[in-house]
Symmetry: C2
Subunit: 466 residues, 2 copies
Amino acid sequence: MQTADLHQFFAPAGVAIVGARRSPGFGYGIPIVLQRLGWGDRLRLVNPAGGELHGLPVYERIADVPDPVDLAVVIVPAASVPAVLEEIAARGIRHVIIESAGFAEVDAEGRALQERAGSIAAERGIRVIGPNCVGVINTANRFTSADILEEALTPGSTAIIAQSGVFGNILMDMLYEYKLYVSKVVTLGNRMDVNEIDLLEYLKGDEKTKVIMAYLEGVSDGRLFKETLQGVTREKPVLVLKSGCTEKGRAATESHTGSLSGEDALYDAVFTQAGAIRAGNLEELVEMTRVFATQPPPAGNRLGVLTVSGSLGVLATDAAVNHGLALPPAASATVEKLRREAPDWMNIKNPLDIGPFQAYEMALAAMMEDPHFDMVLAITVLPFAIYKRIPSRELAGKSYFGDIASMRKSAPGKPLVVCAVGHSEFVFQMREVAGPDVPVFISPEPAVRALAALHDYWALTGRPPR
Amino acid sequence: MQTADLHQFFAPAGVAIVGARRSPGFGYGIPIVLQRLGWGDRLRLVNPAGGELHGLPVYERIADVPDPVDLAVVIVPAASVPAVLEEIAARGIRHVIIESAGFAEVDAEGRALQERAGSIAAERGIRVIGPNCVGVINTANRFTSADILEEALTPGSTAIIAQSGVFGNILMDMLYEYKLYVSKVVTLGNRMDVNEIDLLEYLKGDEKTKVIMAYLEGVSDGRLFKETLQGVTREKPVLVLKSGCTEKGRAATESHTGSLSGEDALYDAVFTQAGAIRAGNLEELVEMTRVFATQPPPAGNRLGVLTVSGSLGVLATDAAVNHGLALPPAASATVEKLRREAPDWMNIKNPLDIGPFQAYEMALAAMMEDPHFDMVLAITVLPFAIYKRIPSRELAGKSYFGDIASMRKSAPGKPLVVCAVGHSEFVFQMREVAGPDVPVFISPEPAVRALAALHDYWALTGRPPR
């Protein structure tokens, strides 16, 4: 298959909404979204009732829809889909997103219906995303077939492949919360035609996409999947959450998007051999993506830890060692510098526990410059009692880290991650101070795990640091 | 040792702050806190400078301090501690919290100093908590030797044992965020005398304490620790985060609180055999405590999952099976009830994926009543785009769950946990709606893991459900 073939899904010349309607639902909401996003002049609405909607004419038959139109978004009852597909083919439209549910995810009847629709698409040479999905998002041209948050359409570097529509939304919302944005999103649904392999191949060549995150419940062709995935991970990192690991989970999957997932251990091997990063759960997927999307490739596995709490330093050390990172001592120039400034009680080691010594900025800058460290984890904690007494929150943050955004920029080859432990008000404040380019975690272990994954990926692909 | 011996640490007749002072720090802040908490009439300040502080007389010598006083909180430079201990003993005070740092956690000299102080305490029959700690909190009588958030002094049922002062604060702040409160907190520091074994034994008999959470970097006596722990877990659950699992971590620990942690695998065995629940990391410790502190013992391992997203149901199923929970079908009465109300496309299974069908409350109530389920996980997700359009947030939450607090109360023997997936604004909203008695998690896996731990604990201790 030509991946060029998928391009119209993301960048159509014009789009027909088949099943536009006045009552609440996608058929009502998506035309509004597209108009607001500037697609009004390339938006065609279709409904046998005809008339007008949102100030646009509603065509009674797909055959009547004028150019430009090379993509159809189908939101009609499942039973009508085969007939609609015939009409779409007759009109010469070759790309279709079927959002309707009620196919293989429901029962045998639905499965048969999906097969019939699939045959029509194949015979007529139509590419289909779905059914049972919300289609695509492309932030570069602000095109979407989903009802999404306009602010989340800021162009970013992460692409999302999600089997279910809900998951596409979840992942986007979670990135958005950290001021991280997407390049493209695709929700695959029941994968009647276009599947995760097609999309991986397509996103491999997508210049806007630097990192791919995927939620999969199963794959269509194990051998081809692995081969394709391997090709993609040589170009850019792929982070995967694969569910349906257990027999029970697989049973639940079947009824959900109508796919069959394979054996879990096999998937583990496939992901490892293909160089993909497998997350153990949803939170880990998001945590790791935050680090991959913002941090440069580290030059090696040597982690420097700065902390205001010895206990949290110990937790970070445990995690680092468990995940294959080294904690070498600081370079002698760093040690001398710190020795000059630090109080007597301070042990100058790695982790560097500065305790209540008010020199976080100096110590952090020294570690970011230290050639013994390939990456830095900066741990901070503030009891809520003290936090609440600080008059200016913003200042409190700055006095901790200094100008952390500048530090991030001045060491372009050294990953930097912050861990802010405490009440969420404090954590949110630290996020503001750190800015979108320095991920803030709420405990040491996930931060270290993500840094280790970043190191492992770049060590495997052999990409030199910038 | 008599555990009664520890009671004065938590409920002194009167307390002397040795090292009260005008300059910022504990010596300045703690007297303020104690006055505010109503301890002004039982608060004695000591400093060789004499004079007055916070409107109270400052005694130049401990010998001069008038009754009532049976606890001393020491905040003087480390080098002065041995002499101060002699004076305290001479005054007839037998309980001492040493908050000063600069002992075994620093260097060999500090270790020697700590040993000297320890010998004095042993000879004079003084019980000591610390050094290098922030002592205790008792919410029942609002006594504390730490500078804490007054709101966090609401009496609760969870006791915290933390090796470091910072960790005591962290855990309290994290519980506070979920409107969970503590009974007692103790930070052990370098454990010159009083250690985790003493405290476990003491908290076993503490009526206010229903759940114990502990952060440990090492234990003083492995055999006795296990024996004591086993005795405690027969009475109430103990959740433990043990760090210093790796050689490197142990090295970091030594410099931190001056303790030596043993082998990690050994600890695993000890915790399992003693019936304690070991958390893998800080977040898991808090997550599990939230469930133990709020949910009743389940009658068995059968989990019912309600979800609006098939994908999240699959993730919950994977986690449930991996952690030894069963997902039986609903009872036929429940199935019939749902069949009558539900649309055709809905598969009535477990997990029950109700999709966009607006009947969350009815379905949740049915599952809480269903005798086939020993516990219920209610998963909800709302794309931020939709959340932002809902005019009344509170209403949005209520329309999801109905009166979840009543459901919690009307099924007193069935644990109920919510999973709200999406942007944190939505999550915080769901937390408000669910109230403090129903824990809200942000993804299915940790929720299921905590429920499984709850089941395992009660299955082991054989306590029948209420």
